[in-house]
Each structure stands twice: as C-alpha cells, then as structure tokens.
C-alpha cells in the first residue's frame, strides 16, 4: 500500500489506478476507498474536500493545538518549563485540551505511554527543551513496545540555535534517533500543524512508536496563518491483509502438522486480535504459550493456554508427539526460532516487515495486521478441510492442554491460599488481590522476579486486563503508566503492581500527578527490601561475589523505605502490611479509597528467597565518620 500511496500523491497513478492497485493487493473495496479518502488531500491538483482543511490564524503554537484537537486529543501530558509558555497562551481559548502535568519528564512519558497502550492512539506530550535527557528512559521503553506517542518540546530560539548557547547542544535530533520512529526540528510557523499531523500519522501507523517534534520557542510564539487538517485526513486504514499465496501455504502447513505450537506476542494485543487468534487455535487445536508482552495476548484461562516455555514438557509427556510446527504470532523472533538445537518449521506472523523472519528461517512469512492474518488463515483452513476433520484434529490436543491448564491454575490458587506468614509470601498477596479485585480490573505490572504473580489473575477480553511490563525493561515506568491507564479507563479498577526496587527509580513524581488530578489507582509495592532479580543473577552465577556470599548492589534494606510515608507527602493515604493476616483489611481499605476517588499506597513487606536472601551486608561507607570537621 505504501508504494501505491506514494505513486498517487506523486501523480504517477490516477485515483482509479490506485483503487485497482489496492484491489489487486487484496484490499476490500471499502478499505481501498477509505484509504483513498485519507490520501485525497495530498494528491497534487486534486480537489480538496473543503471540510478536510481549514485555515487558522494565530501563533504557531495555536496551529499545533488546533491540529491536536482535530486528531481527537483530550489530554496533553506535560511538565513545567518556560517552553510551555506558548501552550499556556493557546490554552486560554482552547479549554477542550486538558493538561495532565507531572513533575519530571520521565514520568510525563510514562503516563502518556500507559494512556496510549490502552487507547492504541498517539498520546501527546510536551515538556521543556532540556527535559529530553530525563525523558529518554521511558521514550526507549515506548520505542521497544512500539507505543504511539507524539513528544513535543521547545527548542532554542532561531537566532541562537547551533551556537552551543544557553540550554542548547549541537544535535538534539541525533540524541532522539534511537528512541523515536521519526523526529524533526520545525522552523516555519505556518507549517507547524503539518508537522504535528505528520508526527501523529507516523506514530499511529503500525508498527507504531514515539515521534518527536522540537520547535524553537520564538517560532511557536510567531503570528502566522496555516492549514489545519481534519481528523479524517489522519485516518490511515490499518486493515493490512497478508499475501494470499502465503496464507494458502501456511494453511497447508498447519493442516499437515502433527503437533503445532503457537507463541503469541504483543502485536496480537496491539492489533486487538485476541479473538481471531483464539478462533484459529480452537479450529485445529493449537496449544499456546506467551512471549514477553505488554498485553495478555491470549486468555490465560483458555483450555489451549499452556503459559510459558517451562510447561511444554508436561504437555508433551501426555501428548507424546514432538512439536513439528511453531507459529510465532506477533512476537519478536528468537534467534534460531523455536530451538537452535532442534529446529522445527516456523510460521511468523507480524505487522512489522523489519521483524518478520529476521532471526530464523521460516516456511511462511505472514506480513499484515495480526487480526487479518488470523482471520484469513481461519477461512483458508476451513476451505481445505471439513468440519469433522478439523474437530478430530483439535479434540485430543484441547483435551490434554485443557486438563493441564485447569489443574495448574487450581494449584496456583491453592498455593496462594495456603501461603501465610510474616514477611508476607508474595503469592498470598496476589491471591488476596484476586479475591477482592473487580472481575474486570486492570493490572499494570512492573515487577522483577515476582512478575509470576500475574499467573494468579484471569486475563481475557471479558475478564481482567494486563498492561506491562515493558519489553525495554528500563525501570521507572509502572507507577506513571498506571495513572495513564486509569485516565484511559476511568471506569475500571486500576492496580499498579510494583517492586520496591522498580518504584525507587524515580516514580514518586507520578504520585504528585495522581494526587493533583484525583486519579484513583492503588499502587501495591511488593517490598522485599532487595532487587531480587539482580541478586539472583549476580550472586547466582557463583562467581567471586556469589562464592563470597556478598551482595554488592541488590540489598535495599538499609534504609528500608516506608512507601506510605512517601505517599503521605503527596496527601495519599496508605497502609503497611507485615503479616498476611493483615492483607484482607488493608486491601479492602485501599479499594474503598479508590471508590471514593483517591489513589492509595499499599506497602506489603514480602519475603525474599533464593541465593543471597539472608545477606544484609553491603559495602559499608559513612562519609560522616570520615570528616575531620563536623560541619
């Protein structure tokens, strides 16, 4: 489609030629017409529908704001800076944009990221020109997750830029290049709406990602006149169909497989393709495991759900047919595919042409929207096999996988129910949350080793929702993201599951935002006084530090942070739980607080385990003791 659009806007083909080309590429007539309508304003010499473009007079920033409004923006996520001056002036006449302010640029991006991960539309951010370095950690997370964000900031005035002057470096764009899908410095006030439109468009087209726009402050203040494009002109249909012959080949391979396995990844959630993927798996009985993902890409209560790699052995012991086909749906490809040492046929489905088939050979590459791919495969398979054949194929695998899935889930819950004590076993906390949370609660997760607590919650389209943890794994995202998630889903309970270590990567700033705007999220800190994940890795490899039983960087117990005190500084209520017997009451109190419209901090002292769990030593140092003058 990209080439057709390019040819059309460069007058190499006619509208009719465009429609014919789209049909030849398997697009439906509706999709082709919709794409034509979206591109229409940019066809040279074409008649612009009058309602697609309007002219606005005002400052350059007024044009930016008008374009944001046209794209359907409700919120502008921001932090303080004198570069916000032009926005402040524009807001006076544009109350339809609600600012959501944070006190740190990193958390601005985290909040916007959480919002965009749920809405799946670009979220706008704006912060000071020198805030960029602060923000890059979560910009990196957004880029790894391909989350659509439009990140704007001011820039040195036109007569000062490039002089290594006050608040400037020589190349801000280079600094952005690894963390954004597209970036630009805009210098013409009359074209600012055009750049905002472009940033939005590039961010939103799959695979999405953050885009960045820097504008000299004087350019934003300058009076001008320019075109604003209607929201319709931003609509690029993303119903991308895979190649028909690849679908046919893939369908044949699936039907001939004796023991298929599917791994689902974040593109399934991004494309809202869970239902279509479930239908495909049920059709022939394909058991499913989950790749790392910001979403729950397959219902974890489904009979075909096997969870993670570790469970495959148990399945194979009962099914007794080694896997002979691996379907990777929407996950990054592992080097060597399913297994380097035991390669099997792989089908890779992805919306990202750069990703598909990248790290291992495949028998079919399905490029397109995952929803379309799954739907097309279902149709192709149905056309090749009758209902009885399919039923026979699916039955045994569904029976075996279903039996295991149900049993493991019962065991998990039972283990949570039976776990008790002080410090609190994390599974007791997860179990109690499961008992008390709403059936459609949203879990925003940024944990280390305790991410396994997610197995306690039922995730599906008609059950709970999971957002996180990020693919980039740069800590300092979850609390801010949960505020953004709640802004996107104000009528669903939102719970942030957070490790104490991850929280301490500068996330207090988001409590300020939650408190100011009454964003009722419950932040649950699994406070085990350690970076357990790094301790396991560093000490567990039994190098010199492990053999000496020394924990240099993971122990957090001195000082042991009281997270409710941090929350209190932001006028947020909380509770500390040190024994599992206190869990029920504390969670109930937290949920009541959410219902009343305020955030809540639940600080649960959890038990750590594994290598180095007993070590409270660290490299002791007191500067105070080394002073020669006690001042």
């Amino acid at each position: 489609m990209r080439k057709l659009v390019n040819d059309l806007v460069n007058a190499k083909i006619s509208r009719r030629g465009f429609l014919a080309g789209m049909a030849a590429a398997s697009y439906s007539t509706t999709a082709a017409r919709s794409a034509l309508a979206a591109v229409e304003p940019f066809i040279p010499g074409g008649d612009l529908p009058t309602d697609y473009v309007r002219t606005v007079e005002g400052t350059g920033c007024d044009l930016m704001m008008e374009q944001m409004i046209e794209s359907g923006a409700k919120y502008l996520f921001c932090s303080n800076g004198s570069g916000l001056g032009p926005i402040s002036d524009s807001l006076v006449d544009r109350p339809q944009i609600q600012l959501i302010q944070a006190t740190h640029e990193g958390q601005v991006v985290a909040i916007a990221d959480g919002y965009a991960k749920v809405t799946k539309k670009p979220a706008y951010c704006m912060y000071s020109r020198v805030g960029l370095p602060h923000s890059t950690s979560n910009m990196y997370n957004a880029m790894k997750d391909r989350t659509p964000l439009v990140i704007m900031s001011d820039h040195s005035n036109s007569n000062r830029e490039g002089t290594d002057s006050h608040e400037d470096i020589d190349n801000w764009i280079e600094a952005l290049s690894q963390y954004t899908k597209w970036r630009w410095e805009a210098h013409y006030p009359e074209r600012l709406a055009e750049w905002v439109r472009r940033a939005y468009k590039v961010a939103s087209v799959l695979p999405g990602g953050p885009t960045a726009l820097r504008v000299p402050r004087d350019v934003m203040y300058k009076q001008t006149k320019g075109a604003i494009f209607s929201g319709e002109a931003l609509n690029v249909p993303m119903e991308l169909r895979p190649d028909a012959s690849e679908i046919e080949r893939a369908a044949k391979v699936i039907l001939s497989a004796k023991s298929p396995l599917m791994k689902v990844g974040p593109e399934v959630g991004t494309c809202d393709a869970q239902a279509a993927v479930v239908e495909l798996c049920e059709l022939v009985g394909i058991p499913v495991i989950q790749h790392r993902s910001i979403y729950a890409d397959f219902p974890n209560t489904h009979t075909l759900w096997l969870g993670e790699d570790q469970n495959l052995g148990a399945y194979l012991r009962e099914y007794q047919q080694p896997f002979d086909l691996y379907l990777n749906f929407g996950a990054r490809q592992e080097p060597g595919g399913f297994s380097r040492s035991n390669p099997i046929k792989e089908i890779h489905a992805s919306v990202d042409m750069d990703t598909v088939g990248r790290n291992s050979p495949t028998v079919a590459n399905l490029v397109g929207n995952i929803n379309q791919i799954a739907g097309d495969l279902v149709e192709a398979i149905k056309s090749m096999a009758n209902r009885n054949q399919l039923k026979q194929m699916a039955e045994e695998r569904m029976r075996i996988a279903g039996g295991l899935t149900t049993a493991w889930q019962q065991s998990r819950l039972e283990a949570g129910r039976l776990s008790k004590g002080s410090p609190v076993p994390w599974q007791a906390l997860a179990y109690e949350l499961r008992q008390q949370l709403e059936p459609d609660a949203v879990i925003v997760e940024e944990q280390g080793t305790e991410y396994k607590s997610l197995g306690m919650f039922p995730f599906a389209d008609d059950a709970m929702m999971k957002i996180g943890r990020t693919e980039g794994r740069a800590l300092g995202w979850g609390v801010g993201a949960s505020a953004g998630v709640k802004l996107a889903l104000p009528n669903r309970q939102v719970i942030a599951l957070q490790g104490d270590g991850g929280y301490l990567f500068g996330q207090n700033d988001s409590l300020w935002t939650m408190s100011r705007y009454d964003i009722p999220v419950m932040v649950v800190v699994f406070n085990n006084g350690t970076y357990e994940e790094t301790r396991w890795q560093i000490m567990g490899r039994m190098g010199p530090a492990g053999q000496a039983n020394r924990d240099y960087v993971s122990y957090l117990g001195n000082p042991r942070v009281d997270f409710t005190h941090l929350a209190a500084a932001y006028n947020i209520d909380g509770a500390v739980v040190k024994n599992s017997s206190q869990l029920k009451g504390a969670i109930r109190k937290g949920l009541r607080t959410l219902a009343d419209g305020r955030p809540f901090m639940l600080d649960v002292h959890t038990r750590t385990l594994g290598v180095g769990a007993e070590v409270t030593d660290y490299q002791k140092f007191s500067l105070a003791e080394q002073r020669t003058r006690k001042v």
């Binding site: 570790q310 469970n311 049993a407 019962q410 065991s411 283990a415 599974q427 197995g455």
Partner: protein
C-alpha cells in the same frame, strides 16, 4: 534456591523441558520414594536439582512447604493433588527436621 536468568537460559530451559536430560542425570541422586518422579517433573521444568542436593541447604519442613507453594504459584507444572506429596518427599528427604 538458585534460579537462573530466564532470558539467558531460555534454550537451556527448553532442552530441559523437552528432553529432561539434565534433570534425569541429577535425578539419579534423588532417594527412592513414592513421589520421586513428581519432584523431578515439577522442579526440572525450570531448573536443575542442585539446590535440593546443596549441603548448604538448611531447610526445615516448613521451609520446604513455603518453597513449594512459591514455586507452584510461579507456575511450576504441578497438579493440586500432587502438591502435598512433593512437600512431603522433600521434607522427608532433605530437611533439617
């Protein structure tokens, strides 16, 4: 109890899961007992058995209960009716009493 970096050891895990080789070799050191196989299947799905054998392991029966609940909650493939059997086997054979 030693767990490994899941990213680094993905393929090791896969090997263990599919072929059970590592676990089988180590399992030779596990004492006979009614529920020995259940322990092997549950534990070696994710990791080796070194931590069970480790002489520095000073686990009480209560500790084993805590660890088994922890591992099952993390997703160790164990059926509900096998959970107590696994605890009993480990407590009987590897606890400080």
């Amino acid at each position: 109890m030693k767990l490994s970096n899941p990213g680094i050891c993905k393929y090791l895990i896969l090997l263990i899961t599919l072929f059970g080789f590592y676990g089988q070799v180590q399992a030779q050191g596990l004492p006979d007992g009614e529920h020995r196989d259940k322990v092997i299947y549950a534990c070696t799905a994710c990791h080796g058995l070194d931590n069970i054998f480790s002489p520095s392991n000073k686990m009480s029966a209560d500790d084993w209960e805590f660890y088994v609940y922890d591992m099952v909650a993390r997703g160790a493939p164990v059926k509900p009716e096998d959970m107590q059997d696994i605890i009993d086997y480990l407590a009987d054979n590897f606890s400080t009493k």
